[in-house]
Symmetry: C2
Subunit: 142 residues, 2 copies
């Protein structure tokens, strides 16, 4: 049972249909697991099915988010990025100049004492940790 089958059975078990378009979208993530904008996914997907529509892609990205299959990353640029939810929890460093985004394994959350959250009565579900700065290439130019 590979990841794609996993996702496909998740869809079915929730009453969603396994359409050709969905297959292609999921494949696109599988083939190159990284973080993409909706437009980038759309470009990839069009190579497999030229008649697929952008709103179909967008709707399915939202659906896959809802199902917990992918993540929506809301970064400072204001353009959402989507990535397959990995087994390994991770975060991102983002270049403020070129917009490049890379994954990092370190997660500061695991070590946290959550007294403050307890005091607030806040029940955490997820968290986001992003480091903004200059990537290797852009820090040279500066």
């Amino acid at each position: 049972m590979n990841k794609i089958n996993d996702i496909e059975s998740t869809l079915k078990s929730q009453g969603y249909k396994l359409t050709g378009q969905r297959r292609i979208i999921i494949d696109a993530f599988e083939q190159c697991p990284a973080h993409y904008t909706a437009q980038e996914i759309f470009e990839k997907v069009k190579t497999q099915n030229a008649s697929i529509n952008f709103s179909t892609v967008y709707r399915n990205l939202e659906l896959l988010c809802k199902l917990g299959v992918i993540h929506k990353l809301n970064i400072s640029s204001g353009i959402n990025h989507f990535e397959l939810k990995h087994d390994s929890h991770h975060h991102h460093v983002i270049c403020v100049k070129c917009g490049d985004m890379q994954s990092i394994d370190l997660c500061p959350y695991s070590n946290l004492e959550n007294k403050e959250l307890e005091e607030l009565g806040f029940v955490p579900i997820e968290h986001k940790f992003e480091i903004y700065g200059y990537c290797k290439l852009c820090s040279k130019d500066n």
Copy 2:
């Protein structure tokens, strides 16, 4: 020398004019330091000057960000929030149900070993840490 004067001299020293509209916008933050959407700031500001324009507010929020006086918070909702830059560095917990946002003092970054960043050759400038979940009120309803 209070904070407003600080900000006003920052403006001047960078060659920006101290307009009535800017005064009002800065006042709005001072009077109730918290995180606001551009619309919220606009509403507050209109009570002081009914003829002020939204784009003026927006332009000045961007300017104040550039000057490092306020922060732009890009949260998952996709609507930017702005807050006065505090002396005390902090982060936020955000309710996924009602959208309420509260500040927390804990910062995971300070304890971080940055070996990974060094390997990437990444030069950090700032970081963002947000915890999403249910606030006290909303976790009761669930």
